[in-house]
Symmetry: C2
Subunit: 191 residues, 2 copies
């Protein structure tokens, strides 16, 4: 396979962009990092970042190893009845965190977030910018941001018990069993 | 202040026991560590451990820096109506995790659990032996262990968003605000 290095669109350009993005997100946080700044650092056209990663969230997902599309997953259920939406979301979330790729990415993210203030900031800002607003849109309560955060707390807690601490009952339960129990609880925050 | 070193009951005996316990819990896990083995390692009478720490859970709490009494907190509400119990528990839990001592202990525990397999085992076994059974006693469902674990996931998730990631809305909310929202959700698992 020939490697031309500098050609835009070559695999190593994509890798280089991700390496620059990882460094920028880690040192400046999610909010303060723009696609434009990453493009400048990586010495590529900003349009190339859009071409590869679509959005800043897509680039963040790629750079941190998280499969993209978690916020999109939540956005997709807007308009469907709440009970159905929530069950679908919990099941999708579990499929998402159960993949080998996610499991490792989650471990890596949690590991850096608890040991490194900048990584905690990066993860907090990503949640605040991309995930909490789409969960919050599922409810009309005035305190939607707090409710959305408590839903996120439940989901993150499940991932931690399932994949970090590996608490037996949570690690062994099927996505359907967990969704059947967690959906009515999560619905309480949103209804 | 005179320090007599070897006298049973002297502060440095207590410290020595905790140091031995920390090492044992970290290398062997919570389950496989007995008060008797710690006493033997520390070259003190097992009765002295009971005198200082009451139970293995008390010694674990002291050794890891967690205030003791989290399981007792849950055990205390057995027999009271569920809604009241759960609100009381969430408020007590938040007071518990909001103390400076707990906050640091939680950070340290989570930090070691995500980076070190033995620390994860220690924490998992502590949850399984001491905390999950008392939460599980609040419900009569056959799958009480899974339900109790999902309640623990919600509570641990709240502590992580409040003190590790410091997500704004969760970090700034009062214990009462969080309890008012989280209690009906948690009740769903237990009723």
């Amino acid at each position: 396979m020939s490697r031309t290095g500098r050609r835009p669109g070559a695999p190593d350009t994509r890798d280089k962009i991700m390496a620059v993005a990882r460094r920028r997100f880690a040192t400046r946080g999610y909010e303060a990092t723009s696609l434009r700044a990453i493009a400048a650092d990586a010495q590529v056209d900003p349009a190339l970042l859009i071409h590869y990663f679509g959005t800043k969230e897509g680039l963040f997902a790629a750079a941190t190893g998280l499969p993209a599309g978690l916020p999109e997953m939540f956005a997709a259920v807007e308009g469907t009845p709440l009970r159905e939406s929530v069950e679908f979301l919990v099941r999708s979330y579990l499929q998402f965190v159960d993949s080998d790729q996610s499991r490792n990415a989650i471990l890596a993210l949690v590991r850096s977030a608890v040991s490194n203030e900048k990584a905690a900031t990066m993860l907090r800002e990503f949640l605040a910018a991309e995930l909490l607003p789409v969960i919050g849109r599922l409810t009309e309560h005035e305190d939607a941001p707090l409710r959305a955060s408590l839903v996120a707390a439940q989901l993150i807690g499940i991932a931690i018990l399932r994949h970090v601490l590996r608490v037996d009952d949570v690690a062994k339960a099927s996505p359907d069993e967990i969704a059947a129990l967690a959906a009515p609880a999560i619905e309480q925050y949103l209804q």
